[in-house]
Amino acid sequence: MQLRIHTPEVRRSRRVLAAAGAVLATTLALVGCSAGSTTSTSKGPLKIGISLSLTGDFSDSGKSAQRGYDLWASVTNKAGGILGRKVALTIVDDASSPDQVVTNYTDLITQDKVDIVLGPYSSLLTVPASRVASRYHYSFIEPAGGGPTVFAQKLSNLFFVQPAPTTAGGDVFADYILSLPKDKRPKTAAYAKLDDPFSAPIAANIQKRFEAAGIKTVYDQTYPAETADMTPIVAGIVAAKPDVVVGGTQEGDAFAQIKAMIQQKFNPKWLFEANGANSPGDFPAAVGKANTEGVFSSADWYADSTIAGSKAFIADYIAKYGGTAQQIDPTSAEAYSAGMLLQEVAKKTGKIDNATIITTLHSGTWPTLVGNLSWDKYGAPKGAYLLIQWINGKLTTVYPASKAQASPVAPKPHWAG
């Protein structure tokens, strides 16, 4: 309860002034220090700054992205770098926090004075980060921020390195279903959506097109991110007896949905999970290898992808990090592709400054590990994902026909239990 400090005033004031002087001196020193930092010359290394979620909620994906970026940097430097300059990556941790990501990119741009920045993991962090980059007129090539809020910012410096905005992840499934003759299509549909910027919209987009085509919605439920128990939701789906089940999901909840369906012995004719089922390692581990058969999902890259450069990427990845191709997270391929874009811009224009990157990427199509990419003026890619299905224990592209490795399997075989 000390509200008054009993000390001799004179002695105290001298001490305070001394302390104040020290603080002032330190501050001025700090101010002076940073003013003296050097800017990179056009002959020195190409400094690229990236903030990634190496810890926190997104840490697994953040680390995958880091591997992708690092692999790209080492492969590029082995081939001589970009325009003769070695690539030097500065990767900092944002602990999956938007406040930290703002601080990180501000520091990377104004304190470390990097030449280029590349994007963090997830739309959640991409949105605040892209604002910072835009303010300083830096280009913002980013591999993991594809939610609608990213493009709603209407930034002209932003480029999302995936074939389409994330919410279009299910469009290819709708394309496939609606390509079937009317009598072979499902009549009723159930939607289970995870309440987050990526997942729910994927299912919602499919729902819009299905309803327009006359496929009746018999169940529609959105659930919060921490929902661990899908049993009540799946019970509702079972009661509604839909022909097709569309899950707007991430990994954990997709697995839970499927396990609940197995438990309740419910087998829809078509089952699409936006995420989860596109993970070559986690999915069979979570639901049992025999239970994967016939489940649909979508992806931009997976181990058996036939896109140009994929095999070389896999070989380099395994050489650097070990493991098998099936264990490679697509996020690594997406990050690698971000780097590829920089190389291609340099090759085409002979320059690698931010203004050039921004103007150049806004026209033409650019080949990457995740497909040939092109963007609209706000950074939304204009392509489409691949529809993949588990056939004989492996992920296979089944639609569109031009890229398919096999025909889609329908109706879905029964659960193995």
Binding site: D229, E251, A256
Partner: protein, 292 residues
């Protein structure tokens, strides 16, 4: 109607598991008059221990309770002795509360470092197995979990009613001053009580890990539900927490089925506020002077 009854069945089965977790927490309050904000974190810790035993040594999650329960019992005693007993001063209650909060954070931090943030769960081979009884789905895991909870609550009851230690605990809960005058060692009772609370969390953790996806941050959801249950049941009353757990299990399950899953947690909060407003001592709590 079918959906309704299915929801009720699910609610009862889930409620049993919450009863086990809540009983530990209310016991701790009864003895030490401290709300243990780390109870949720201890459950998650128990879940991770079970997970590790399962994935590295292949021990069945139900069987691993034999290992995790004594282990967390000792951890609980250690925590109480090291971090709660030394607290003194006028604000002991407040400080203790904050210390348990800090313990929860520490557990969460340690688990994040050790296991990362991805959602995990424990998948024994029988995880997806369910029976169909009269057209209603009853999952094997949930049923066994319920039975297990009842058994463990029975053990707890036995300890409290029939052993000397249990008598000391009940005396301390009823009147700490008199209990001390009669020779009960308050420190020892507190330590053992906290250990018991942690042990119940361990048992509940194995089950929790099988039923839910969890990560180190899951303790927030748990603690918010546990707080409602112990307050509804009456802080300090184990029987009360069991009844309250069943009520809340069914209530939230119904809300989930009839309205929407995104509001099911809300049920807990609203009930908590109503209880605090209308009948702060809960269903079976003692009318004490002071905090409530």
């Amino acid at each position: 109607m079918h959906a309704l009854i299915q929801a009720i069945i699910l609610g009862i089965l889930t409620g049993g598991v919450y009863a086990l977790m809540a009983s530990g927490q209310t016991l701790i309050f009864g003895i030490m008059k401290v709300v243990n904000l780390a109870q949720g974190a201890l459950v998650v810790l128990g879940a991770y221990l079970t997970y590790t035993l399962f994935t590295t040594l292949g021990i069945d999650p139900f069987l691993s309770i034999i290992i995790t329960t004594p282990l967390l019992f000792l951890v609980g005693i250690g925590l109480q002795w090291a971090l709660l007993r030394p607290l003194h001063g006028e604000d002991v209650a407040q400080l203790s509360l904050l210390v348990t909060f800090a313990i929860a954070l520490a557990i969460e931090g340690a688990l994040s470092v050790g296991y990362g943030a991805t959602l995990t769960n424990i998948q024994p081979s029988y995880a997806n197995f369910s029976w169909t009884i009269f057209g209603y789905q009853v999952s094997l895991v949930r049923f066994v979990a319920f039975v297990l909870s009842i058994v463990m609550l029975g053990v707890l009851y036995f300890i409290l009613r029939r052993t000397k230690f249990g008598r000391s605990v009940r005396a301390t809960v009823q009147n700490p001053m008199s209990a001390q005058l009669l020779g009960v060692n308050a420190n020892r009772v507190s330590a053992l009580g906290f250990g018991l609370g942690a042990a119940t969390a361990a048992a509940a953790g194995s089950v929790f890990g099988m039923l839910n996806s969890f990560n180190p941050g899951s303790h927030y959801d748990l603690i918010s539900r546990l707080l409602t249950i112990v307050v509804l049941g009456g802080l300090g009353s184990i029987g009360g927490s069991v009844v309250a757990a069943l009520i809340m299990g069914v209530a939230s399950s119904l809300v989930s089925a009839l309205a929407s899953p995104i509001w099911s947690d809300f049920t807990f909060f609203i009930v908590l506020l109503l209880v605090l407003l209308l009948r702060p001592r809960g269903l079976f709590g003692a009318k004490t002077r002071g905090a409530l």
